[in-house]
Every structure is written in structure tokens, then in C-alpha cells.
């Protein structure tokens, strides 16, 4: 059914393929930039991936102003504010974010602070709150999951309030997304699996949430097809370049989808778990996705049922609700296979969450902005019920 009104926006230039990173200095020239602030984390530096970036600048007249590698696993407001100050001090004119969602979101957050000439990120949170034009940003993901290289959202941990904050604006889209298989080849199987499930959750929620539209649906289904084809392969074999590039593209496509149709209660639960228990976002999404699909199938069984084909199920004439349960079980099967290969947990207790934390997680869940877009109403009791099932 066509929505009465929708918006779709995807202004990012995408470079995907072998040696895509070598084009970065050229693209900086087109953007009118000369001195880049590279935002990354210690894991990326230790894996030697920054050397690939540095090599791209070797015979270029563009330069790297500074390499900031202090991004934590969950990007925080304190780190963002520090990065913004360094950006000004080093007189950089663009950001290159190299890493997973945290590095890219940290760069986005610092970009907000720098461009709005603020001193504190906390003052600028919310949706469509950014007035100034942001500095150019190039995103080079080293994981295949968050899709942050093509989204208008940044999720940053508020250290004072102990919760995750969302920043949403059309201005947060990076200028360029660079998918280079050499940047994801060193991902360990566990990271491949959890970021891949993150991408799957993005696509599945984009397809089932209130803001869904015909264009984002195409992107969502395309992403799920690629994930079904490549995720297990990429997890089993780190040297499978095709599989890793396939997953990088799947994550990007899923990112385009959910950036335009938002997510729902699965992300609210994952955000809350991340805020309370510091569970990695991909693991939270992986655990909750099948339960959330079952929960939402009470309200939108047809949408959930339609995903079973792209997940490898058979198109069936069974009733929509039954087909939707098949979709959830296909996701569980995928999670089981990934868990065998990579060891990612399938239940909250295996992810280190204790039962006494569940009420706090449920309380945070119902205050998460993503919940608005969930097709089915979620109360505190509903959130707690899903948590207990996933526990």
C-alpha cells in the first residue's frame, strides 16, 4: 500500500570496489578540501588499515592533518567534544572516518559541534536540529553493518545520563562513502557476524516500520538478498573478497533503506541494552530481531511474511501470520549458523546481561526515539516481555 506521503533522500556518492580508497585524495579535490582529520579507533590502527589510507595520500597534494584514534566502542559526547577541539586546532577542513559505526558517528558528532560553533554536543541533540552546513565528510567503513556511511543519524553515548542520544538531520549524510574490500578483510568472524546481523536488522525494520515507502522497500529487500547470500560465507572465510564486498554493499544498501524509513523497537531494545549493559549494538539487534518480528507480526503480518522469500524461504499460500512466523524462524536459523561459526550469543544471558537489569533496559527502551516508528504499540510491559523471551 502506498503511503499518503513520504520523503526519500540519498545524496551520497558511493565508491565501491577494489582499491576504492586510492580515490580519496581525488574526491577531496572535488570537494575543495586540502587537510583531512582522520577519525578512527585503535583496533583499525592495529590492524594496519590506516596504512592503506596513508598510502592513498602518498603521491597526492592533499594531506592528512591528524589521525585521531581514541574513538571508543560506543562513541561518547566527551570524545566528540575533544575531537572537535582538535579539528579546529589542526586547521583541518574535512573529516575522513575510518572504522565502524562508532568512528563514523564520532566524526559526525564532531562535525556538528565544529560547524554549529558549539562547545558541547549535548545542546544539539534531537531531530532536524542542525542549522549550519557541515564540513565535508568521507566515510570509509571497516565493518559491514551499521550503514552509518549513508545515514543521516548519529548515535552517541551520553556519559552523564548513561544513555544513547540520537542526532538526526539531512545534513549528517557524508559526502562520500568508500567501500574497499581491503578495509573489511581483517574483520574477525565475530565482528563480521554481528555487524552483518546489524545490517539485516536495519533492512528488516526498514521494511516493516511506519515510515516505509516503495523506494526504501526496494533497498531493504535488495540488502536482505545480499545478506542471505554472503553473510555466512564472509563469516566463515575472512579471505573471501567477494563475500566481504557483498556484505559491505549490503550494509550500505540497508543503511540507505533505514535512513529513509527509520527503525523500530528492535533498535530501541538494542540501544537500551547498549546504554545499560554496554552490549554491542550488532549483538543486541541479532538477539532481538526474531522476537521483534514475531511481536510485530501481530499487527503487520503481511510485511513480515514478505521477507521470507528473500531470506531463502518458499513463497507459500499459507496465511500471512504463519508465513511471518516462518520469517522469524529463518532469521533464527541464520543466527544459529552464525553462532556456530563465530560464537556470537543468541540469548541475552549469553551476552552477559543479568535478569535484574531487564527492568532498567525496558524503561530505557520506551524512551527511545526509534519506538515511534514501530508499527505496533510497545508499552513498558511489552518491552519487558520481549526482553524476558530473549533472555
Amino acid at each position: 500500500m502506498l503511503p499518503k506521503y513520504f520523503q526519500f533522500f540519498c545524496p551520497i556518492k558511493i565508491l565501491s570496489g577494489s582499491k576504492a580508497v586510492s580515490n580519496i585524495p581525488f574526491e577531496m579535490g572535488i570537494l575543495g578540501c586540502k587537510r583531512a582529520m582522520v577519525v578512527t579507533d585503535k583496533g583499525v590502527v592495529n590492524a594496519g588499515l590506516i596504512e592503506i589510507i596513508k598510502a592513498a595520500f602518498a603521491d597526492s597534494d592533499r594531506e592528512i592533518g591528524m589521525i585521531f584514534d581514541e574513538t571508543p566502542p560506543d562513541s561518547s559526547n566527551r570524545i566528540v567534544n575533544k575531537l572537535a577541539k582538535l579539528f579546529e586546532k589542526e586547521q583541518c577542513d574535512c573529516f575522513i572516518a575510518v572504522g565502524g559505526g562508532s568512528a563514523i558517528d564520532t566524526a559526525k558528532g564532531a562535525n556538528i559541534v565544529v560547524s554549529e560553533k558549539s562547545d558541547d554536543l549535548l545542546k544539539l541533540q534531537g531531530a532536524e536540529n542542525i542549522k549550519a552546513n557541515l564540513k565535508p565528510m568521507i566515510a570509509v567503513p571497516t565493518t559491514a553493518g551499521t550503514g552509518s556511511e549513508v545515514t543521516k543519524a548519529a548515535v552517541i553515548y551520553n556519559e552523564e545520563a548513561n544513555c544513547k542520544m540520537s542526532f538526526i538531520s539531512d545534513k549528517l549524510y557524508p559526502c562520500i562513502a568508500v567501500l574497499d574490500p581491503s578495509m573489511t578483510a581483517t574483520m574477525p568472524p565475530r565482528i563480521t557476524a554481528m555487524t552483518g546481523m546489524d545490517a539485516l536488522t536495519h533492512a528488516a525494520e526498514a521494511y516493516t516500520c511506519l515510515q516505509k515507502n516503495p523506494i526504501s522497500d526496494i533497498f531493504a529487500k535488495g540488502a536482505i538478498e545480499l545478506i542471505h547470500k554472503y553473510l555466512v560465507r564472509a563469516t566463515e572465510n575472512g579471505k573471501d573478497e567477494e563475500a566481504h564486498l557483498g556484505m559491505a554493499n549490503a550494509a550500505l544498501i540497508a543503511g540507505v533503506a533505514f535512513s529513509n524509513s527509520m527503525t523500530g523497537v528492535c533498535h530501541s531494545l538494542a540501544h537500551a541494552c547498549g546504554g545499560v549493559c554496554h552490549v554491542p549494538h550488532g549483538i543486541g539487534n541479532a538477539i532481538f530481531l526474531p522476537w521483534v518480528l514475531e511481536y510485530n507480526s501481530e499487527k503487520i503480518p503481511e510485511c513480515v511474511a514478505e521477507l521470507s522469500c528473500v531470506l531463502g524461504g518458499e513463497a507459500d499460500k499459507t496465511e500471512a501470520r504463519q508465513q511471518a512466523m516462518i520469517t522469524a524462524s529463518l532469521v533464527r536459523d541464520l543466527l544459529t549458523r552464525l553462532s556456530k561459526v563465530s560464537g556470537i550469543p543468541m540469548r541475552l544471558r549469553d551476552a552477559g546481561i543479568t535478569e535484574d537489569k531487564l527492568p532498567a533496559i525496558a524503561k530505557l527502551t520506551i524512551n527511545d526515539g526509534a519506538l515511534v516508528y514501530n508499527p505496533r504499540e510497545v508499552t513498558y510491559d511489552d518491552a519487558l516481555s520481549i526482553l524476558k523471551k530473549a533472555f
Partner: protein, 206 residues
């Protein structure tokens, strides 16, 4: 707009044509856009004041809303605003209730901004829910997301006590079930709403 009592199979198209012809004629009048815009502005101004009054009354009478706002910090402020130059109103938690601070955005912790009057009208007259309006990118939120969700929940309870049951399908993802006590509380809201609205209109008249 259809004049249903005159509508039959034979004259259905004729009546629709007649209505649309009249509307087309009105649109050709030079001052019609200004009048239409002004009418929407006045409607939204009044609806905001009514909604604010309903919030004041409901936060006094409805136990669920009292429980919802009990956890809010004292002085927390919310504003609703229609861009670019539409009406706006600010509410605040004062004591154990919510009160109208005044018209305009006044140092709010969270502001719900509607893109324009056309985005706001269906929401305020009960024809569209806030979550649908957000899904259609009609509303932007400035401020703390968690506060925004808490306000949204409280506002849903207010709307359940303000609008009649047949409007629920437009307003909620899941229809609230009021029960006997809920209906009694709703009657109290209805009884107190008109006097409170009059008081607020006089107090905040601009």
C-alpha cells in the same frame, strides 16, 4: 465536503461537482489564500490552547497521567510550535500537574515543531496521530529524545481522555481501553475542560 442528505446515486456526481466548483470559485478570489491561512492559524491557536487546557485538567483528574508525570523533574517544559510563523504554546510541570506557561516557545526542554499549518491541522483536530505525522516527516523534535517520548506518552493519555472513542483509530496504534473508572475520569475532564479553556483564553489572550 459532501451534503450527504442530498446524495443519491443519481445526483452523487452532480453534488460533488457543485461543491468542487464552489471551492474553485473561492480559490480564485484574490484574498482567499490569506483568509484560508488566517483561518488555519486561528484554528490551530485555539486547538493548542484547548489541548493545553485539556492537559492541565487531565493532569489533575486522571491517575494514569499523574503517575506518568510523577517521574518528571520539576519545571520540565515542553513546547509545540508550527513553523515558520504559526502559533506555539509552552507547557511545564509545576508541582504534581502540568500547566500552560504561555503562548510561544518559552525556554522549553523539548519542542515539537510542525513543518507548516497543513502538517499540523490533521494532528490537532484528531484526524492523524503524532506517530503517523512523524512517519510522514511532518514533525521535528528539538531537545532531549527521552523527554520527548515521555511527553508523547502523557499526551497520548490526554488524547484518550479528550477525544471520543470513534476517533481512536486515527490517533493510536492500539486503542486504549478506559474501563468504568476511565470513563468517569473522562467525564471529569469534559466537565472541567470548558471552564479551564475560558480561564486560559482570558489569561493568555494575545
Amino acid at each position: 465536503m459532501h451534503l450527504n442528505k442530498y446524495k443519491t446515486k443519481e445526483n452523487h456526481d452532480f453534488m460533488d461537482d457543485a461543491v468542487y466548483k464552489k471551492i474553485s470559485l473561492l480559490r480564485k478570489l484574490p484574498f482567499y489564500p490569506v483568509m484560508q491561512s488566517r483561518a488555519k492559524f486561528l484554528l490551530m491557536d485555539n486547538m493548542m490552547l484547548s489541548l493545553g487546557s485539556a492537559f492541565e485538567v487531565a493532569s489533575r483528574c486522571v491517575p494514569e497521567i499523574k503517575r506518568e508525570i510523577a517521574g518528571w523533574n520539576e519545571g520540565r517544559r515542553f513546547a509545540m510550535q508550527i513553523l515558520p510563523k504559526g502559533p506555539a504554546i509552552t507547557l511545564a510541570k509545576q508541582g504534581d500537574r502540568v500547566r500552560i506557561v504561555g503562548k510561544g516557545v518559552q525556554a522549553s526542554d523539548v519542542t515539537f515543531m510542525f513543518k507548516n499549518l497543513d502538517a499540523a491541522v490533521p494532528v490537532f483536530v484528531g484526524l492523524q496521530s503524532t506517530h503517523e505525522a512523524m512517519a510522514q516527516s511532518k514533525i521535528m523534535i528539538q531537545g532531549d529524545n527521552a523527554y520527548a517520548q515521555e511527553f508523547n506518552r502523557a499526551m497520548s493519555l490526554v488524547l484518550a481522555n479528550l477525544f471520543p472513542v470513534f476517533a481512536y483509530k486515527h490517533l493510536f496504534k492500539a486503542k486504549p481501553k478506559l474501563g468504568v473508572k476511565g470513563l468517569i475520569n473522562k467525564s471529569k475532564v469534559y466537565l472541567l475542560l470548558v471552564p479551564q479553556s475560558v480561564v486560559n483564553t482570558i489569561k493568555h489572550f494575545k
